[in-house]
Symmetry: C2
Subunit: 353 residues, 2 copies
């Protein structure tokens, strides 16, 4: 597999990833290297990762509790305290080995420790490989508000070792696959068709590369999300609200990120049909594809009310308006579309049909 170059760093794949890593470590002269893991990646990924390191470095392992519920300021503070206790200094570096929680939180922790130390991301889930590996977004949640606190800051390197996908169950793989389907919807109808036709997750390498390349093209053209980059939020405006609600709610089973944005992509498909000219058969294709792959979520009246309240906290909203990314057709997005509350209600009704 190839490498993908962003303006400030490179994403390296599989065999070339470890060559790049070893070269980088050899020339960087870090005073210490901290590897951030959660319990899962500590057990399943760290031994593999360490076996690929050539040369002697001063490593320290920091383990955080797994799960989105721990992606918060309290966990950051714990890591900052451990870094201090272990004498991390400005020439130290962090390697974030894990899914989106570890890379988002670890990137934020590194970006703020002593006003910024260098970090390397090694995404271990399909979701973090295709979504978190480019773009420089770091951050943590504030209560139910996803990624409410964070910064934009770029890692030194991103390493994608698709062998780590063998440590994931089907549900986790499916969650990441939702972001790949989104890449098709917002930029490439042929890619959407190809992905739809895939029966399993055994040979994803070329599609992971394709998805990272799509995201990188978008981010390069608009790093600070003034215009084009917004298209990556397709399905996320409602999807994030759904995800936050299920995260906080005691009554519901947890929804994975991809499962929540799968709901969001159907809901926002309906809005696209009403507001930006998405065709009827395209909408039906979107709904059938996601309901075929992701379990249908049952929403009660009070669920919908709370989700619509959470919507207003979405980072992309300003001046009290809720702006959506919608689709003109599959592969062609439209940004900054305002949606009235009654259409949101209709969208949930369409989802439930």
């Amino acid at each position: 597999m190839n490498s993908i170059t962003t303006p400030s760093y490179s994403v390296h794949f599989n065999e070339t990833a470890y060559v790049a890593l070893n070269n980088h470590l050899a020339k960087s002269n870090y005073s210490k290297i901290f590897i951030l893991v959660d319990e899962n990646t500590h057990n399943c990924c760290l031994p593999i990762f360490m076996s690929k390191i050539e040369g002697e470095y001063d490593f320290e392992i920091i383990e955080i509790e797994e799960g989105e519920i721990n992606k918060n300021i309290a966990t950051c503070t714990q890591v900052w305290e451990v870094l201090s206790e272990l004498d991390a200094d400005r020439k130290s570096a962090m390697i974030n080995l894990g899914g989106g929680v570890v890379t988002d939180l670890g990137g934020f922790v590194a970006s703020c420790f002593k006003r910024g130390i260098e970090f390397i991301n090694v995404p271990t889930t399909l979701l973090s490989m295709v979504d978190a590996s480019v773009g420089g977004k770091t951050g943590v949640d504030l209560g139910p508000l996803k990624n409410q606190v964070g910064v934009i800051n770029q890692p030194q390197l991103v390493l994608v070792d698709t062998d780590f996908l063998n440590t994931l169950d089907q549900r986790q793989l499916n969650s990441g696959f939702a972001e790949m389907l989104k890449h098709g919807l917002i930029s490439d109808a042929a890619y959407w068709e190809t992905l739809k036709g895939l029966a399993g997750f055994d040979n994803l390498d070329e599609y992971i590369l394709r998805s990272v390349a799509i995201k990188n093209e978008v981010v390069q053209q608009d790093p600070t999300e003034q215009h084009l980059r917004k298209i990556l939020n397709y399905g996320h405006t409602l999807g994030h609200a759904v995800e936050s609600y299920f995260l906080e709610s005691k009554e519901h089973e947890l929804l994975l990120h991809g499962e929540a944005i799968a709901v969001g992509m159907i809901l926002e498909g309906y809005l696209s049909r009403k507001l930006t000219g998405l065709g009827k058969s395209a909408l039906e294709d979107i709904k059938a594809t996601f309901l075929g792959r992701y379990k249908k979520v049952e929403f009660e009246r009070k669920d919908i009310d709370t989700i619509l309240t959470l919507l207003k906290f979405d980072k992309k909203n300003s001046h009290g308006n809720i702006n959506f990314v919608l689709l003109k057709k599959i592969g062609e997005p439209a940004i900054d579309i305002k949606v009235t509350p009654d259409l949101l209600e209709e969208a949930f009704a369409y989802y439930a049909e």
Copy 2:
């Protein structure tokens, strides 16, 4: 008074400051403007500040508890929660009206809220006017470790209204004056002589402008503190450790920042005499000047031991080395000077003589 232009924003003084502010607010179309204050600036400065605002804006006041002891992550989290509750969005802005605690913490809070909203700093103490108004350092303390968590990020504007100095007592003014004396020591022997000769703090405007200009020149040449900017840390390596120790210690009276770095500048003056050729009379001048203006601090054996332990946590240290900025002569600094532990002991003995 003039304005001083940095690469990304301007520092405006007195009458021109409010003209610049009103122009900026009129063109910025912020969805809401949050003014961060502490109890003191809420009472003493906010009414003056608000009286200068022309036009109607949606202001919200957020008050934090005063004092360095509250410059921490817990206070940041409270402010992030209040911002969320009050519907702050990406087009909102923060105005930080206060001393270094408010501007350092407020700048960090704004830089991380939804991955960054715009902010304006209005320093109200002499210290924050001459020290915090340029350079873009934001951050908070982590226990006894000063500014351990933060980012470098620039405000939109900095407004220096020297009328706010009338709200300060002599001790606070004297604390800020220590940073101005430092500006003389590191860059301009004539400025040091002038400041030494000042009897009171009644007519500081031209010197505040001079100090901001000195700091701005240094920061412009080295924004990320790779080399030249380090000279601003003269007196701070030991001064910070002294300040941290007194902040945490139950047995000692609190030392203000300037009082702590006054100690640091004498101690590091001694190191300069030993290591970088500072003359005997220059060292005596430094010691007499600071002891003439700042009460001598009594250090016991255990105080010194703890302070030397804190030293290793200073952000400027790496690979276990403690690097100092020292003086070759008054007005001429030397950076990256390594100091052995026995010399540090001698410096404390010299201070106590």
